[in-house]
Point group: C2
Chain length 432, copies 2
């Protein structure tokens, strides 16, 4: 028996790869936050016996098991039955009165008739108890198998997460020992270049440990410390400070903070507003920005100018500019940014234009060629050409991230800016 | 020894839940496509022994193991060493000349000096061979452990996927037996309501099997058939046909086809163009649309009018309308759609406005209240109020999906339209 907490994800759609399992990673993070170590992670399909076997095996080697999925109203949801086989073999599921009330109320409040099939969701093993689900029809179920606590939660993340936080975490919290982790997010340097800056901090076996991961142009530094809360947290912060001093201004945020919210905070502090002019990103940049709650304080909106006609009419890009240099060029990107600045009357404006692929590439401008321009009210415009590897989605996501990064470096001032504007990539700067 | 293929994902960042593992699900799908069954799925951290132990265990019970991750240039990338411990215990890694050439060329072509650390990526166990990686610095590694074939691929999906398709799949393909799967995607009915339509098709043990999953407003019907290629594929298509006839027009696509590309095809067939006017989605709708390669044929662009001022200036929404009914209302949504129609001169225009949260909710319009309007050139405008549960991201994603769904039902005509426009939700239709 180890103190770790196993994570069991249930569903044919997961085993077959028909949907992504985001619950397991979220739970791993949530467990560490309360001082518990993520244990074995398994994924099983909608098979009563396979599910019961996995549950039995994990329960015999872990202090607790968090199961997600298989609590839906349909016949392929078998978590209730499998849990019964493990905690009350041979018994029958019983209908939980409070559970039935919850279901009736759920549908009544929505003025919809309750499909009979939903009643299955009020069933539980005799020895178990239901966990209230304020955001969906599926209650969770808690039970014990020997010394192991088993928590079954619904699969939909928006239902599972609050249930874990409110009903599961309090019972699992361990204040004697913690796994303290930190993630420092950077953009502007490649993974190897960043690793060279971090040097021996990344040596294996070092405590706290330091590692890096890269995704869509963002390189994250992962730090991990284990031990008594105070000791681990102090060691973590010391290593974090060392990483920060070595990596420098390419680090924009910590522990999942989105690049857009960092840029937003910088804009808010400076009382500046921004607008967007998007071609190849087609709205993704605006979407990243408005993912940030409260972004209306510094983001007014923008133009998605996918067709050249829209670039000309909505942003005032001279037709001659597109004619002469192409829609994917420094000149067009700069004109788009200046057009947005004028039209939306903001202090800054970001423009993106590029060849996202799979078609549209040429010898001079292959797929992955992207121009990002940032214009400032004082008249300066910075434009940079990038060439991103990868498919259409990757190119678009990288473009949106680097557009935000360009804005951040611009706001940071010359020193940091040079980092981004001098990496062997074509750059054009226009002064008013 | 079973014929299944194990999937081993490597990286502390996965175990700790710092990043999502999308490779495992993709590989599960890719394996089925070539007639192989996904076997055990494990996730291990950057620990040489744990990695070697897992590799050894999986190799002893599976016909093949696909490992992803741990091939980077940094000291926390230990897949090469762990593979050595499994296939050539006691031996040392050797430098692969072709691998070194690949790395030198990679950096030369980018006009960058090669960090010394990257040379580690050219190392391999003596008994193994490197797999060329056209899209990154990390070569893959192939080796045998007893009767099991082991393929190690880099973690970045844009590098891993083509390497699997070109270098791994050909050797694993099984034409004697297949697992045929199909996913039918629907929007407009809840999961339980759809399940009632499918009835006994969803009974456990049925072959082919039928299940449902829901995500961001989209409910997918999963069908799976196993057996000899012809038999399985015929059985699959028969069940798919039954599902389609029962579910009706709420099914919009199959096998991952995005809703936006379906709407795009309908528009292209009808030679119609569309534009977007986004408030609460802030560009996400345009981003979903432009994720579709070739969308420029039917999508010209749109306005992200996050601030009310932008709704008034860019879309001509009367200030009095916002004053009287609020920015989140049928009236404003309808004015936004009509404004986009006029400004962008398209045949249709979609508008979104809502309270994505966490703030901004009220008694009358709680967080999750969203209005979607679709205007047609003939002057008709359809507007529907939704109330979505979930967090800011969920509300925004559902809004973008339902906005596309409203457009689809509109294009399908009255019969299908009634489905979406008569579900106990407030609807307003203005005729020219």
């Amino acid at each position: 028996m180890n103190a770790a907490v196993a994570i069991l994800s249930v569903g044919d759609e997961l085993v077959l790869g028909q949907i992504e399992d985001t619950n397991a990673a979220w739970l791993a993070r949530a467990l560490q936050a309360i001082g518990r170590t993520p244990g074995e992670r398994r994924t099983v399909g909608d098979d009563r016996r396979a599910l019961a076997d996995a549950l039995r095996a994990l329960a015999s080697t872990h202090a607790a098991v968090i199961l997600t999925g298989g609590l839906g109203p349909t016949l392929d949801d078998l978590t209730r039955e499998a849990l019964l086989d493990v905690v009350s073999p041979g018994a029958a599921l019983v209908e939980d009165e409070a559970g039935v009330e919850h279901l009736r109320g759920w549908f009544e409040r929505r003025g919809r008739p309750m499909p009979a099939s939903n009643l299955r969701q009020a069933m539980r093993p005799p020895a178990a108890r239901l966990l209230a689900n304020p955001h969906g029809t599926a209650p969770g179920i808690a039970a014990e198998a020997g010394a192991c606590r088993i928590y079954c939660l619904p699969g939909p993340p928006n239902e599972m997460k609050p249930m874990f936080d409110n009903l599961v975490a309090p019972g699992l919290r361990d204040d004697a020992n913690v796994v303290a982790t930190a993630a420092l997010h950077s953009i502007g340097l490649g993974e190897s270049a960043l690793a060279e800056l971090l040097g021996e901090l990344m040596v294996r076996g070092r405590e706290p440990s330091v590692g890096t991961t890269a995704s869509d142009g963002i390189v994250s530094i992962r730090v991990r410390a284990t031990g008594a809360p105070d000791v681990a947290r102090r060691a973590l912060e010391e290593t974090v400070a060392q990483c920060l001093s070595r990596a420098g201004s390419v680090v924009y945020g910590r522990d999942g903070e989105p690049l857009a919210s960092v840029v937003g905070r910088m804009l808010a502090e400076r009382k500046l507003t921004i607008s967007t002019a998007e071609s190849c990103t087609g709205g993704m940049l605006g979407s990243f920005i408005t993912d940030v709650a409260g972004s209306s304080a510094w983001y007014v909106g923008g133009a998605v100018t996918y067709a050249n006609e829209r670039k000309i009419v909505d942003l005032g890009v001279p037709a001659a500019t597109i004619e002469a240099h192409g829609a994917v060029s420094h000149e067009t990107a700069i004109a788009m940014a200046r057009g947005a600045l004028a039209r939306f009357e903001t202090d800054l404006a970001i423009a993106t234009t590029g060849v996202a692929g799979p078609g549209g590439g040429s010898e001079a401008k292959p797929v992955g060629t992207v121009y990002v321009a940032v214009a400032r009210r004082d008249g300066d415009v910075f434009s940079r050409r990038f060439h991103f590897p990868g498919d259409r989605t990757t190119v678009r996501r990288r473009t949106a991230h680097l557009a935000l990064a360009c804005t951040r470096f611009l706001l940071l001032g010359e020193g940091a800016r040079s980092l981004l504007w001098s990496e062997g990539e074509a750059v054009r700067v226009e002064r008013a």
